[in-house]
Amino acid sequence: MIRYIIRRLLWMIPVALGVAVIVFTLMTFCPSDAAEIILGSNATEEDKEILRDSMGLNDPFFVRLGDFLTDTFIRFDFGKSWVTKADIKTSILERMPRTFVLTVSTLAISVLVGIPLGIIAAINQGKLGDNMCMAFALAGISIPNFWLALLLVILFSVKLKLLPPMGIGGLEYYILPAIAGCTNGIASLARQTRSSMLEVIRSDYITTARAKGVKEFDVITKHALKNALIPIITVVGTHFGRLLGGMMIIETIFSIPGMGTLIITAVNTRDLPVVQVGSIILAIVFSFCMLIVDLLYAAVDPRIKAQYESMGKRRVKHG
């Protein structure tokens, strides 16, 4: 098992390198002039040329790519933002925890609401409960986050004065953003849970468990849900990764300086170093998420655990 984890961790190196090369290439060939962005449209051609030279922008593409990869992966020097001159490592270390808290709380609500909804829908298939849950899921997928965010702010901040409408501070500042951001997750988790549960709930061993007199609650939670978890874990994992890099709308509305706003601002200003490092960090975090998802598979399904272990042993024998 440990060999499997190490192998997966080593795979992250080419993934991060691949992301770095792709992002660097895309951003390099985007139509923009970094010198003009930094100096502003009032700068003369001479000023811009001097700055381009000092930033190495006149060097050949492969020289710049090589410099970037060496600085990032060998020296671990992420550099400074072209636009703000702020240290990128510091900016990311400041912003990542906020995005992480927001992502985890959003995901937690999605899981706590989405999975029970899916279970209720599945055990009441074709009945009122099923229709209500699926209507809720449909609404969750259909409602735009930014629209729901503003409605929540109007209700909880303007009318009821219960929660802060924006900004950062204690955990109370994350409640509205998390609720506004979780609707998609609730919907997809509810639908996935329902379909997985429906497959499992008709299995012979569930009928057997019921025939043996096991309580219905135990049948659902201990026998059915555990066996339906694999696809649900996949959805949770991919959703976590998507949330990490995709919270910029929620962050903008609620004035939360997180990774989403950092990267989107950097893309708009063609702040290449920030976009590159931000993307690499997100790719690595996403790879970690996928690794955790795979490990959770093993935790809930002994067959997969045995498969991972046998993969490791086979490799040892061949070696």
Partner: protein, 537 residues
């Protein structure tokens, strides 16, 4: 039964969303039924009259759309004209709303006979919040650092700087250009070299301030809090009223989302919002709980025509005139700016130094469809599709221009792009036929960046090569040549040739809680309200 139930659920869902939409669209409870006209930009007390003494406010929260990511003094021009910059650093001089430069750390400056050497004298008692004494050595080093880092274009106009005494130094400019030295003074943030060199991150996250305030809380991209120092170096009687400090703790919150700006005010999260978006501002019209102050922006929105030979507009003044006369500026102001803009009378905004007030009464391409069609008939236009380059923020304006030109038979394709792409395209006239540009910051600055044929690889900023205009500019923007007569001659030349057209001057609208009881709103050079300097009753 099942289908019926689904239909009922669907109906309920639709009704819920509809109600939600209506709720979200509703403004404040006491919003008037009909919008009123924007309040007069010249609010009582903002006219430069000597204000009475102010009450000191303990704490104030202000919304801002300006992103300030780092406190380092060596940064580009982005956001350097924002209201709160003066709370971060003292400068050598500060520019007021009338375009006048008033001394701050520099006690005085004068130009030598050669027109390029300036003698600067510093106050002798400048200290920062750690007690470091600031001398000419610090300032000379700061200016030299700015020159070598090349982040602010005005420092590239400096030839060299030299210390002449403990508190005096000379700045020698490369060219005799009026208004350039004050811009250097304005762009020079004052701090101690020793404190800067002791900082682990060049003051990026915490700084030692020379300003009346200390930064006591700073989260990049979120907020910045200033607390009034009790050991500020300057004596009260020498502080210009435009730089008064009547608030003890001042926090600026970064809020870009238009609805949240309004909500922030309504919930009391912020007491004031500087430069609120026009769509949200309308919701405060006629609401006595809030005060609106409009100030003209330092940048106008101008339309420039390509001068590249490959473009049909470059050598066809009749086509350019047809385009200018086809635009209904009143309609644009009403529809694209919700009334929060005013017409221009030159490519230079009226707020800029060098603008001649007499231009306000001149005829300036008044909307006339018949005249536009006449010029179009005289032009060489042959149904070619013209391209307009514009920023995403000017999307609505671009669409209106497209419609107006369509009405006289000119086909216009829009190329609306983000700031980065716009910046890389706008100085090459081969990329467009027309370009919308938000430009200002002084008449000389605008001239040199738009009409100097020697400034860019292909000519001026639109790839035009007009040596006559360039020679006029060179002789006008010197200290001796900057006369009303010469300025007017340049204005007429640009108008006659229709090289550019001042479309609108947007108004910057600040909204604040009426309970603050501001009796004198101090407006800054960027059109915003300076909440610290304003007078509280």
């Amino acid at each position: 039964m099942n289908r019926k139930l689904r239909a009922i659920l669907a109906m309920l869902l639709v009704c819920g969303m509809l109600l939600g939409t209506l709720a979200a669209c509703s403004g404040p409870d006491d919003q008037p039924d009909t919008p009123t006209t924007p309040s007069n930009p010249d609010t009582p007390g903002s006219d430069g009259q000597e204000p009475a003494g102010s009450k000191i406010i303990e704490k104030l929260d202000v919304g801002s759309t300006t992103l300030w990511e780092t406190l380092t003094p060596f940064r580009n021009t982005s956001a350097q004209f924002s209201t709160f910059v003066r709370h971060i650093y003292d400068r050598l001089a500060v520019r007021t709303v009338t375009g006048e430069y008033v001394p701050q750390a520099a006690k005085s400056w004068e130009v030598a006979d050669d027109g390029v050497t300036y003698h600067i004298a510093l106050y002798e008692n400048i200290t920062d919040s750690q007690g470091n004494h600031i001398t000419a050595d610090d300032i000379v080093w700061i200016i030299e650092e700015n020159m070598s880092r090349g982040l602010k274009p005005c420092f590239n106009k400096v030839d060299h700087v030299e210390k002449t005494g403990d508190y005096t130094f000379d700045i020698v400019m490369k060219q005799n250009i009026v208004d350039m030295l004050p811009m250097v003074l304005y762009s020079t943030y004052v701090f101690s070299r020793a404190a800067f060199e002791a900082s682990p991150d060049e003051f990026a996250t915490s700084l030692v301030s020379t300003s009346p305030y200390e930064v006591t809380d700073f989260v990049a991209g979120s907020h910045i809090t200033f607390t009034l120092r009790d050991d500020y170096w300057q004596s009260e009687d020498l502080i210009d009223p435009a730089l008064a400090n009547n608030v003890k703790v001042l926090t600026y919150h970064y809020i870009t989302e238009a609805s949240q700006q309004q909500i922030g005010l309504e919930t009391g999260t912020i007491n004031a919002m500087g430069s609120m978006s026009a769509t949200s501002v309308q919701n405060f019209e006629g609401n006595d709980d809030y005060v609106m102050v409009n100030g003209p922006s330092s940048n106008g929105i101008q339309l420039f025509f390509s001068g590249a030979d490959s473009k049909v507009v470059a050598n066809d003044v009749n086509l350019r005139l047809a385009i200018c006369y086809a635009l209904d500026i009143d309609g644009i102001i009403a529809a694209a700016y919700s009334g929060y803009a005013e017409p221009m009378h030159d490519v230079v905004p009226r707020t800029n130094v060098g603008y001649l007030p007499k231009w306000d009464n001149e005829e300036y391409f008044s909307y006339n469809v018949d005249l536009a069609k006449e010029y179009l008939a005289k032009s060489n236009y042959n149904n070619e599709e013209l391209t307009l380059l514009a920023l995403t923020s000017a999307n609505r304006l671009a669409q209106m221009i497209q419609s107006y030109l369509g009405a006289i038979g000119i086909q216009l394709k829009l190329n609306v792009c983000d700031a980065a792409q716009w910046s890389s395209s706008q100085t090459d006239g081969n990329n467009y036929d027309l370009v919308l540009a938000p430009i200002g910051n002084g008449l000389v600055n605008l001239w040199s960046n738009r009409f100097d044929s020697n400034a860019y690889a292909n000519g001026d900023a639109t790839s035009r090569k007009d040596q006559t205009l360039t020679d006029m500019l060179y002789s006008t923007w010197t200290n001796e040549g900057f006369t009303e007569e010469n300025i007017d001659a340049v204005h007429k030349y640009i108008m006659d040739n229709c090289y550019g057209y001042g479309v609108v001057l947007p108004l910057v609208t600040a909204v604040y809680d009426a309970k603050l009881n501001i009796t004198h709103a101090v407006i800054t050079d960027s059109g915003d309200v300076d909440m610290a300097a304003s007078i509280y009753g």
